[in-house]
């Protein structure tokens, strides 16, 4: 067979052929295929980002957004000294951490349930994913109405249970005023964020859960491990990389979101439920101080950068191990 045409190394012919062969080289093709996405991101994220950095070091306002005056880090020191900023920073961290904690616990629970098959699972999946199908602004409106200071059904139920209302444990009023108290307000934001992020986080964690071979659980059961021992010694360590991915997705989507707080509490009472993105928006856009708004927005950047890089490295490492 191989006796015929030994020099069988067909090479491309013609100008088009040579061109397409040239384009098909890995190095050329790599840029050809990566290029559009890179250019897009540079144009629509890189450029605005640089502008945001420039803004944060200028004295730009809405009416005069020119970058003609360089003020160094003055905006950063100016915003950092205010109560509002400090509260916003604190709350951003509390809300993100609180949401992550709740989401991770619930997502682990949900994934533990969803890994099994049961009757009505399809329906359950649809109900479970409902919150994720909503735009954030509508999520905020639904919860705003759900927790309304006058008409909240939660309050009504609590009153019926004698937990709320005159002479009850939780005070003399018929309402808890979820959105009007510092810690209840923050808790409400956390619960709402949890509500909307749980489906996504569960999907991620479940993906990790399904990759754990069943034998590992059987072995543990043979070894006499109980539910909690299995959870903490088998499941969680194996889920670690996926939990980190879930933390990243959830954390980034929560910490950058402003419309939830904007609609739910508007940062009040006082600034006690203020968060950084909304404070930046208020200061920068509503209040007109573009430069200070940019400084507020960018404040978290280096920290998030380090946190994300560490998290991702941890995720990759524990995966390789």
């Amino acid at each position: 067979m191989s006796t015929q045409q030994h020099s069988g190394v067909p090479q491309p012919r013609g100008r088009m052929g040579r061109l397409s062969a040239w384009l098909d080289q890995p190095k050329v093709l790599a840029w050809l295929m990566l290029g559009p996405a890179v250019l897009y991101v540079i144009a629509f994220v890189g450029f605005p980002f640089l502008l945001a950095i420039a803004l944060s070091m200028s004295d730009a306002t809405i009416g005069d957004p020119s970058l003609d005056k360089f003020v160094g880090l003055a905006n950063f020191s100016a915003v950092m000294q205010t109560d509002a900023f400090q509260l916003a920073l604190r709350n951003s961290l509390i809300v993100t951490a609180g949401t992550l904690a709740l989401v991770l616990v619930l997502a682990t629970l949900a994934s533990e349930l969803l890994v099994h098959s049961f009757r009505g699972k399809r329906l359950f999946q649809m109900i479970f994913i409902l919150p994720w199908a909503l735009p954030v602004s509508l999520t905020a409106i639904v919860w705003m109405w759900f927790l309304d200071s006058t008409f909240s059904p939660v309050d009504w139920v609590l009153v019926q249970l004698n937990l709320l209302g005159p002479g009850s444990v939780w005070g003399p009023f018929n309402h808890l005023y979820f959105l009007g108290r510092e810690w209840l307000g923050l808790a409400s934001v956390i619960v709402t964020d949890t509500w909307r992020m749980l489906p996504l986080a569960t999907i991620i964690v479940l993906a990790g859960r399904m990759s754990i071979p069943e034998e590992r659980f059987e072995q543990a059961r043979i070894d006499g491990a109980g539910v909690f021992r299995i959870l903490f010694r088998i499941t969680l360590p194996a889920l670690k990389p996926m939990l980190i991915v879930a933390i990243l997705f959830t954390g980034l989507l929560v910490i950058g979101e402003m419309s939830l707080v904007q609609l739910l509490t508007r940062g009040g009472p006082g600034h006690s439920t203020q968060v950084l993105p909304y404070w930046a928006y208020l200061k920068g856009i509503q209040g007109g101080s573009l430069a200070q708004g940019a400084a507020i927005t960018l404040f978290l950047f280096p920290f998030l950068l380090v946190a994300s890089v560490l998290a991702l490295r941890a995720a990759y490492r524990s995966q390789e191990a």
Binding site: L34, P48, L113
Partner: protein, 272 residues
């Protein structure tokens, strides 16, 4: 037995958690205003006969139908653009760029560290330069900033999960780099692409700030910005209409996402 009870308790709890605020929304949709603004009655009951007026109002008197249509168009185009940009990019990073491409999976995430609460001003400038201000195309152009990095990252994982020997076999079988990508690798990652599409669609649907500032023409608005603008008038909230809008959006999407649930899980399973 105890396990079983625990299991169904868990299912029950999660079901309630997901659905109760929306059930309350559902009750509200059919309430008459005077009933809704009553205290001292059982809030879950219809103390006055329920009414379809709010639902009818939503579809006939507001631009809600247009919002849905716009959101659908924006979503579809955003998904298309996202796929056109991120599939080749993910392939390139996974297969062509060598080790730095492998590692750049991390860098892709950094894009998300910049919240859009201020980016929208320069973004709007770009939108104006492109001559698409105040049209849904402004969102079609800008929203992929949110979806492209996520999807590239997800797809990168999908491509990585395909054994390299498959590409090598294809090349030895006579395929060039591109044909290998197109004929052999791409078919392996279809489920992942489906998961990414669903994901990109829901991200594009959810964005508020760009949608609210780039488009002021009511007829060109999308659900996320149009519904609050049209149904919250200063100090008057059209609660039943708002709730109706929410449910009308959420339920069909939840059904679709529910059907995609396993694909989505499979997507992330491969991605990391």
């Amino acid at each position: 037995m105890l396990r079983k009870i625990g299991f169904y308790c868990g299912i029950g709890f999660l079901t309630l958690f997901s659905i109760v605020p929306l059930l309350w929304a559902l009750v509200t949709v059919f309430k008459r205003d005077s009933d809704m603004y009553s205290v001292g009655t059982v809030p879950f009951f219809y103390n006055e006969p329920p009414t379809l007026d709010h639902l009818i109002f939503l579809f006939t008197e507001s631009n809600f139908g247009l919002f849905v249509q716009n959101s659908a168009i924006v979503g579809i185009f955003v998904v298309l653009i996202t796929m056109v940009l991120s599939i080749p990019a993910a392939f390139s990073l996974a297969r062509l760029t060598g080790s730095w491409g492998e590692r750049s999976g991390m860098a892709i995430f950094l894009v998300y560290l910049i919240p859009p609460s201020l980016l929208f001003i320069p973004m709007y400038q770009i939108v104006v330069w492109l001559g698409v201000a105040n049209t849904i195309w402004s969102l079609v152009i800008v929203l992929p900033t949110i979806t492209v990095p996520f999807c590239t990252w997800l797809l990168l994982g999908f491509f990585r999960s395909v054994p390299r020997s498959l590409d090598e076999a294809a090349m030895l079988d006579g395929c060039g780099q591109f044909t290998t990508f197109y004929r052999v690798l791409l078919p392996q990652v279809w489920p992942g692409i489906g998961a990414c599409a669903v994901f990109a669609f829901s991200l594009s649907l959810g964005n508020y700030i760009y949608a609210a500032t780039f488009i002021t023409r009511s007829a060109a608005r999308t659900i996320s910005a149009g519904v609050p603008t049209e149904l919250i008038r200063g100090d008057v909230f059209f609660w039943p209409e708002l709730m109706a809008a929410t449910l009308v959006v959420a339920i069909p999407l939840a059904v679709v996402y529910g059907l995609f649930f396993n694909y989505l899980v499979g997507g992330f399973r491969n991605a990391t």
